[in-house]
Symmetry: C2
Subunit: 412 residues, 2 copies
Amino acid sequence: MSTQEELALARVALTWLAEPGTRSVHGLVDEFGPVGALDLLLDGGAPQQALRESVAARSRAGDARVVAAEALHRADRLGVRVVIPGDDEWPGTVEQLRTLCLTDARRRVDVETAPPLCFWVRGSWPLAEALDRSVAVVGSRAATAYGTHIATDLGYGLADRDWTVVSGGAFGIDAAAHRGALHAGGLTVAVLACGVDRAYPMGNAALFDRIADTGLLVSEWPPGAEPLRPRFLIRNRVIAAGTRGTVLVEAAARSGATQTTRRAIALGRRAMVVPGPVTSAMSVGAHELLREHPEARLVTGLAHVLEEVGRIGELAPVPRGPERPTDLLDDDARSIVEAMPRRGRIGVDALAARAGLAVRTVLRKLPLLEELALVVRREDGYAMVTPSRRSTRPGPAASPGGPMGGDAPLPA
Amino acid sequence: MSTQEELALARVALTWLAEPGTRSVHGLVDEFGPVGALDLLLDGGAPQQALRESVAARSRAGDARVVAAEALHRADRLGVRVVIPGDDEWPGTVEQLRTLCLTDARRRVDVETAPPLCFWVRGSWPLAEALDRSVAVVGSRAATAYGTHIATDLGYGLADRDWTVVSGGAFGIDAAAHRGALHAGGLTVAVLACGVDRAYPMGNAALFDRIADTGLLVSEWPPGAEPLRPRFLIRNRVIAAGTRGTVLVEAAARSGATQTTRRAIALGRRAMVVPGPVTSAMSVGAHELLREHPEARLVTGLAHVLEEVGRIGELAPVPRGPERPTDLLDDDARSIVEAMPRRGRIGVDALAARAGLAVRTVLRKLPLLEELALVVRREDGYAMVTPSRRSTRPGPAASPGGPMGGDAPLPA
C-alpha cells in the first residue's frame, strides 16, 4: 500500500509524461494505480503505441520520477501544495469527466478529456470546499465594455450570495469576473493553464496575487510550467466540471469560452449565456450557442443565474411593466376607460355606445372608476383624469411598456 | 343569394356593432351568413346576452345599415376599397384565426380573436398577393438607436429579397421596418388600428402616404375610425396571422409587440426574436420571450430570418473565425507548432520532447510545416515563422477568435 506521498509523486510524474486528460493514462491508473501505471509506462509497457512513443520522447528530456520529485520540492518552497484523489480537499465533481463525451469530437483536446490526475493549489481554502458552491463565468479576452460590465456585475453578485466565482484568469471577461468577486469580498478561483507561480498573462499579476490571498490559484501543471496553447483548452474541461454551471458572457465565433460552455452542457451542468447586441462580434459565439443548444439557457443577470444553479425555489422575478390603476379593472371597466374621450366630457349614453356596453353596466362601473380617480364626474357628464392630475404613477397612455404595448396612442 | 355588395354592407355593419374578433358574431356569420347574422342581431335575437347588450348600446348611436352604407360611400370617395371573403384578394391566411387559442387567455382581447369580417384597403396591390410572401417586423415605439438600426436593416434586406414587410405603422421599430422596405424599393404593408385615411400617429403621416403609393394601408375599421387603445391589440392578431413569421426587434416587458409574437407562436407561424444588450429595458420583453417560448427562435440578422421563413435550403451560414493555416493540420503537426518556442531555435529532439511525440513523427511532419511556412529550418535547428513574416492572414496567436479561444497566449 503506497503512501499519499508516493501516490502524489506518481501522479505528478504521469502528468509530466503525458498531458492531463489523456484517457489511456487514466485507464492504466484505474487498472494498476498511479505507482503501477508509472512503472509500466517507464518500462515502455504501455499498450498504446502513441502513449509509448510519447513517454519515450518525454523520457529523453529527463527521468520522470526525478522531475516529479523536484517539482514537489519546488512547490513546497513556493507554498504550493499538490492535491490528489484521497485527499480531503479533492473535488469529486471532476471525476465526472470520465463520462464526458463530446459530439463529433475529432481533435485531441475534445477526446482526451479524462479527469485530472492531480491539482497544484496556491491559497489557503480547501479546494473541494471552495468549489462546492461555485459558478464559472467565462468569456472572451477581447471583451467589450458591455461584457466587462456584465461579468463584473455577475462576479460581484454571485460572490455576494456566497457563490464561488471560477474563471480562467485571462484578460477581459475572466479578469472582470474575478475582480467582481474580489470587490464583494467573496471567494474566487482561477484555474490556470500554467504553473500557479507564473503570472500569465503578465498584466494580471497583481490580480493573481489578490486571488491567491483570499481565494485559490489552481492548475494541473506544476509550478514553472509554461502556458502552452493547447493547455488552455485542456484546462477548460476542469472549469466546466468543477462548477455547478457556466455562464458565457461574451464570445467570438469559435472561441474557447464557447468550448467550455459546450463541455458544461455535455456534463449536464447548467449552461447559461448572456446575449448581447447582434451588431457585436463579441456576442456572435454566445448567440450561436443559444441557437444550437436548447440546453443553453439565456440569462440576463444574477437573478436568472441563481435560478439556474440555486436551490429549487430561488426563482427569478418575471419582469413587469409599471403597475397601472387599470391593471385592477375587469374588461367592462377597462372598456369604459378606453372609450373615454381624451379631452372634454361625455354623457353616459354616448359613453355606453362607444364602449359597446349596456348603459346600466356603465352606470354600475363608473363609481369604481371615480374611486380610482380614473374619471371625474362633471355636471354635464364624465371626463378623463389626466395622469399628472391623478398621481405620480404612469397613466395608461403614458407608459410605453403598457398593456397596449409599444403602439398605444399617445395623449394628443 | 346576396351580392358581394350586400355581403360587404352586412360585414361592415357587423364590425360596427361589435369590435372585430368577437367570436359570437363570427359564429353567427358562419351559421346564418353575414346578412342573416346582421338581421338577427338588429332584431335583438343574439343568443349571448353580452352581445345583445352591445348591439343595443351601439344601435342607440345609429342604424347599423345606414352607418355601413355611409362608410362604404365615404371610402369610395377616398379611394379606399373594402375586401371581404369571396373577393380574389381576400387573404385566406387570416381564417386560421378561427383556431387561435392563447394559453391562459383571460382578457377580452386574448379571447375575442376571430378572423376579420372585412378589410379596408388603401393602395393598388391586391391584398392577398401582397401578404403571400410576407414577414412581420414589430417592436417597441420607444425604440433605441440599436433597435431602429436593426429594424431598418431587416426591412431593407427582406424587401430586397422580395419579401413584403408588414408592421403596424407605429413610431420606433414599426416605422423603421417600413422605411427600410421603402428604401429597398420593396413592398410594405401597414396594418392600422384606425381608418386608413387617418394618419395616426401624426408624425408618420408622410410615411403613410409613401406606403400607400407603393404598398398598402390596411385596417379592419372604416375610414374615419378612431385609434381607440384596445384596437391596437385587436389588430395585432392580423399582423401575426397574415404573415409567414414575426420578427420581434425590441420590446419592453409586457409590450404589445411581444403579444403579437405570442399570437404568431400560437398560430404556428415562425416567431423570431432579436436579442439585445441585457442592460437595455427595450430588450427585456425580447429576452423574456426567448426564455419562456422554446418555439421562439433567436435571430441575429437577415440570414437567420430567411432561414426561418424561406424555402428549405435557405440555410444561414454558421459564423466562423478567420481561416488559419493550422486549421489544416492534424493533431501531431499542431502539437509540433504549439511546442515551438516563440523565439529562438529548437533542435528536433528537444522539440519532440516538448511535443510529446516520437522523433521520427516530428521529422515526418516538419517538411509540411516548412511547406506551410509555419516553421523555418536553420543550420542549428528550427524556428517559428512570425505571422507578419508569413502572410497577411492572422496567425495562430494573433486572432482572439482562434481555436485556442479567448485565452491563447499573446505573442510575447
